[in-house]
Amino acid sequence: MTVIIRPKREFEVCVEAEIVPTNLNELKSLKVYLGKQEISLEELFEIEYFEDGEEKIILRGDFSKVKWIGKGMKKGEIIVEGNAGMHLGAFMEGGKIIVKGNCDDWVGGMMKGGEIIIEGNAGNRVGCNYWGESKGMEGGKIIVKGNAGNYIGEKMKGGEIIIEGNAGDFVGSEMLGGCITVFGKAGYVGWDMKKGEIRVGECEILPSFVKDGDVFKGDLNVKGEGIIKIIKKLA
């Protein structure tokens, strides 16, 4: 079954809708929040569907004010045809999310598995840990074809993040494992990282990393064994 969901109107404030592939009745009656108003998904969104043997949701229209799309998703596929709001694919465990437009902050926060592809730009804190948590992303893959903001893959323990464009400051801070690739430019990279690898086109090397052959190793201040590798930019 493929389900097509469209907003019925412009929203006064952001909507929180933890949309994940599931059966139609559950989707229709999914509790969503328009600010403090608790309401079902079908009251705010048009829901169409057709049986095609797939397990797919298509979000059509403006979803830039819709948060938590695909939260904790385990299977199936979500395609966002335009922009998506905050916390897309947070805590995701499996399945696939494709966003054709741009995405707000916290894409794949503390993700454990599955795949997220953002064809436009992503905001800050891609694959990051939530406040105070000791681990960020633990598994799965996030690909951002455009640029991403600051705080990418902080405290990441496993999985992979690929930013094809530029990223901001604090890529892989306090990283514990996994791999982050930024093909373009980034700011501060790998601060206090213990393990893992960061590949980046261009960045500011912190004064706590030392050159070792063609890579930088650190972070020395935490006796880290992380690796920063300068790679060629994408054509």
């Binding site: 939530y130 406040w131 105070g132 948590e133 000791s134």
Partner: protein
């Protein structure tokens, strides 16, 4: 409202009542004779249920700058939702609870009084603001004395009269309930990056030793006849060999000789043998004998497996813990009176050290006379107070202890390092009521608490089980939530849910003494403060429901 509790199975050690079917009458917040009750407006059918006084927590860090800094530091703990905002407030926090959550959770498990045991006097306005935001329970705060420069001065001079005046002044400023000492001298040493390691060592910059601080303060407390005397967190806490320091501290109390002159808090944390983490052991057996034959009392400081956040005025201890745990660390050096630290920690059953800690506190719970020991976790240091039912169930059943060791896979190092597994003792429910009600009431000098005597405060817990027919497997569930909790004569919990959001009282002790004799010293010391003497401390009218205890 006049309430009759009908046909309950009553346990009240203060009246030697052990599981007798009785009726109780409540009027104007007090227990009354049937003849005085008049028209009964509400009858609670307690048939088949156990009726006891409301529980008293003698030592829980529930209010003030420390726990609040802990909350700010740990959103990952505070995100846990205990109850949503509805008729009551929303209640947040897994281990570090918000003020509404603290009041609600105590009430739900039948506790009606709790003591915040460590408030820096200069921060006491803050502590009282938080106490005033905790619903339902009665409460009090103990101001810190163990690292005050004036304490050192009067201890060095052995001047009990001046110490008495100082204690009276500071308790009045803090609107406090007694004397708390944390690692006497050690926190001052921490200002130089050090600690003190023996009670007979000189405190840096002063001519006094921790032993002199303890002794002078005990003498002052006894002479002032404080309802609760000296409440101490001993030197050398949390390290192998601390049992020896505790034994020496107990000997100081023996010299004073007055019953209840010293309460050694969270005794577990101060009762390790050995000289390194590799050969750490429990000193509970030896210390229990000493405690049972001396004028001191203790509380357990039970460790609960899982994550928690330690917090204490013991700054150097928290720094040591930070270096071990390699995690976040809050430190606060407070003017010239105290300090403090906060470090998150996880107690793991498989860790030999943590297992010893867990077993040691249970040993104390089984070996110390129930008239001398109180159930506690040193909240939140050993774990959340909501685990008291768990602790009680382990004290009451050897089988549950054995199951726990198996299920949690507790390190078998405890077989060598503690006596827990060889102890066959099972506490009776009567003993438990002592250890959670009458004993803390007696240690705190709260005459109208921990008892169901006529005239006592109508703080009552009614548990949905028959204490004469205890079954191990139902024990925990029976104690976690009350059928009813009554606070000051009002039903606040029914079937484990909060039904009425009321405010409890804050007890403080008014001491008469000649303050003039320390006026000069106070003026001198305030040159080194950053607030003026007149702005220091709390006025009674700033507290929501103050209740003065006069001595």
């Amino acid at each position: 409202m006049t309430i009759m509790i009908k046909n309950g199975i009553v346990v009240d050690p203060t009246q030697n009542i052990d599981g007798e079917k009785m009726d109780l009458f409540i009027k104007n917040g007090k227990l009354v004779e049937e003849s005085e009750a008049g028209k009964v407006e509400k009858v609670i059918d307690a048939n088949g249920m156990t009726v006891v006084p409301g529980g008293i927590d003698i030592h829980a860090h529930i209010a003030g700058p420390k726990i609040n800094a802990g909350r700010s530091m740990r959103p990952e703990d505070l995100k846990y939702v205990r109850s949503k905002s509805n008729k009551t407030r929303c209640a947040m926090g897994k281990v570090l609870l918000t003020c509404p959550a603290i009041g609600y959770e105590y009430a739900k498990m039948g506790y009606t009084t709790a003591i915040e045991p460590a408030t820096p006097t200069i921060y006491s306005i803050h502590t009282h603001e938080e106490l005033d935001s905790i619903p339902i329970v009665d409460k009090a705060a103990l101001p810190l004395f163990g690292n005050w420069h004036l304490t050192f001065k009067f201890a060095a001079e052995g001047d009990v009269e001046k110490m008495k005046a100082f204690v009276a002044w500071a308790i009045d400023k803090a609107k406090g309930y007694g004397i708390k000492i944390v690692n006497p001298g050690g926190v001052e040493a921490w200002m130089y990056g050090k600690n003190v390691h023996s009670i007979h060592e000189l405190i840096p910059g002063f001519e006094a030793t921790p032993a002199e601080v303890l002794t002078t303060l005990m003498k002052a407390a006894v002479e002032l006849n404080l309802p609760h005397k000296v409440h101490v967190h001993c030197n050398n806490l949390g390290v192998p060999g601390s049992a020896e320091t505790t034994a020496e501290t107990i000997k100081l109390a023996e010299k004073i000789g007055k019953e209840n002159c010293l309460h050694i808090t969270h005794v577990q944390f101060n009762s390790y043998t050995g000289d390194s983490w590799k050969n750490i052991g429990s000193g509970a057996e030896e210390l229990s004998k000493l405690i049972n034959s001396s004028p001191v009392t203790v509380d357990m400081g039970q460790v609960i497996f899982g994550h928690t956040t330690t917090m204490t005025a013991d700054g150097p201890f928290e720094f040591a813990l930070f270096k071990l745990a390699k995690t976040k660390w809050i430190n606060k050096d407070v003017e010239i009176e105290t300090g403090g630290g906060i470090v998150p920690i996880t107690y793991r059953a498989k860790s030999p050290v943590n297992a010893v800690q867990w077993a040691t506190s249970l040993e104390f719970g089984l070996l110390v006379d129930p008239d001398k020991i109180v159930v506690s976790t040193d909240y939140p240091n050993g774990g959340p107070f909501v685990e008291y039912p768990y602790i009680i169930s382990l004290l009451m059943s050897k089988k549950l202890r054995e199951n726990e060791v198996k299920e949690k896979n507790v390190s078998n190092y405890i077989e060598r390092a503690t006596s827990l597994l060889s102890l066959d003792i099972e506490r009776s429910f009567y003993d438990i009521v002592k250890m959670t009600r009458s004993t803390p009431a007696k240690i705190l000098g709260l005459k109208n608490k921990g008892t169901l005597r006529i005239g006592a405060d109508a703080d009552i817990a009614i548990y949905p089980f028959n204490c004469n027919e205890v079954r191990d497997e139902e024990l925990l569930k029976s104690l976690e939530r009350t059928a009813y909790t009554i606070k000051s004569g009002e039903i606040v919990v029914k079937d484990g849910e909060i039904v009425s959001d009321i405010w409890g009282k804050t007890f403080w002790v008014k001491v008469n003494s000649e303050r003039e004799i320390i006026e000069e010293e106070l003026n001198d010391v305030f040159k080194y403060y950053t607030v003026s003497k007149n702005n220091y401390g709390v006025k009674e009218e700033w507290i929501r429901k103050p209740e003065v205890v006069k001595v």
